[in-house]
Point group: C2
Chain length 248, copies 2
């Protein structure tokens, strides 16, 4: 009897493991990748701020001129302090930065190189996400675009879970904090979550943002249902409707 129980236990365990294995679907990969991109963004910003503080001992005027971190990194890797000072028209005795020997500059530039390669990594992961999105949820990809679609998937938890969501929930994904503040304190309800990054909303008039978000979430909820049940590609039609409604 004992042996049979043991055998049953072993088989059960294997069966469970097989099930766990089988449920690793490809939308999970999208979610991991999009979370990684989020993390890479955070990390490269942290390191860039540190790099700037360091580099500003050496050439503060230039650092203040370039706001974009990735551009800043790109340029200081290419051009020396002397070249940059010439470009902004400052003589050596007009700059506040100290002239440092090469051995002190190199460690800064090594940090800059690492940041640059993090930006390259991000581009690579975004391409991978795009490939997966086109393959797994072409309709959502068409309507929401690459990163917004993937972020919505990550917030919903999976393609299946997202396909069950009503469009009003999709509209507010990413605005949970504001939503619960509304429910708790009666503050104004949020009109959109991360859907707000969509160009259709960004390019419409401010008073239309709420309407556009509702309309977009509507189309996305249709798109994701079609994707989950492996329907035909209707992304182009949905997109056309969106453009018509946005008045473009």
């Amino acid at each position: 009897m004992d042996k049979r129980l043991e055998e049953l236990y072993r088989k059960n365990l294997l069966e469970t493991k097989r099930k766990l294995k089988a449920c690793v679907s490809r939308d999970w990969l999208i979610i991991q990748a999009v979370n990684a991109v989020g993390e890479i963004n955070k990390v490269s910003n942290m390191l860039s701020r540190r790099l700037r503080e360091w580099y500003e001992l050496h050439n503060p005027e230039f650092s203040k001129l370039v706001f974009d971190h990735s551009k800043f990194v790109e340029i200081i890797l290419k051009k020396s302090r002397e070249e940059l000072l010439k470009e902004i028209g400052l003589a050596e005795d007009e700059t506040m930065g100290a002239k440092l020997p090469k051995e002190d500059i190199e460690p800064m530039l090594e940090l800059a190189k690492s940041i640059k390669s993090l930006y390259e990594l991000r581009a690579l992961e975004e391409k991978y996400i795009e490939k997966l999105m086109k393959e797994i949820c072409p309709n959502l990809y068409a309507v929401a675009g690459n990163m917004i679609g993937a972020k919505l998937l990550a917030l919903a938890g999976s393609l299946e879970k997202m396909s069950w969501l009503p469009s009003s929930t999709i509209q507010l994904l990413g605005a949970e904090k504001a939503l619960f503040r509304h429910l708790k304190t009666g503050a104004k309800p949020p009109k959109y979550g991360i859907i707000h990054e969509h160009p259709v909303i960004l390019h419409s008039a401010l008073e239309m943002h709420g309407k556009m978000a509702r309309m977009l979430a509507d189309k996305m909820s249709i798109a994701v249902k079609v994707d989950f049940f492996k329907g035909k590609f209707i992304g182009d039609k949905l997109l056309e409707e969106i453009k018509r409604r946005a008045g473009k």
Copy 2:
């Protein structure tokens, strides 16, 4: 008159800039570098945790076996899932991880490569810090070691500021939170700050930690004063005394 005022203003500005420039001393570079190392540590931990979550879809058993992030990254870059499963003695149907195609594994490994290069960057910056420490504060370097000395400098603000600190303050650098809790609420005072990472303290009996910290801070405060006033090298003597007092 106006013109003379303008001229005076311009000259004053230049003078101020020159002064600012001149005060960029090399201990500032140590501080920037040691802060960068701290940031790199944080960042590589964040990315490693993310990588593990991603990789565990694929090979969870192995990830659970290796605690050290840098080892983990090293190994998964070298060996495939099949090789690792063989090493831990699991058959394909016994693992909970899904077998993924190569195109889905590559984006993970790209992230792993980035993390690895961050570790390399850290090693490089630590070497740079060591070079600077030996050059600027050889006595502090001898007594405190590379990273602890540099961190103390960063906490104090500069070599000059640190040379003004009494040894009791040096002993508590990095334990500000506990110190103010003590002053405010009357909780137990802290016995040591980041000085606690020093091998002499780590390797002594627990009840001796406070004593050792006091003794070490003592020697460090002597060392840093000698360094700031460009005295002779007495690091070896201080170190000998420390060893004698630590009973080694």
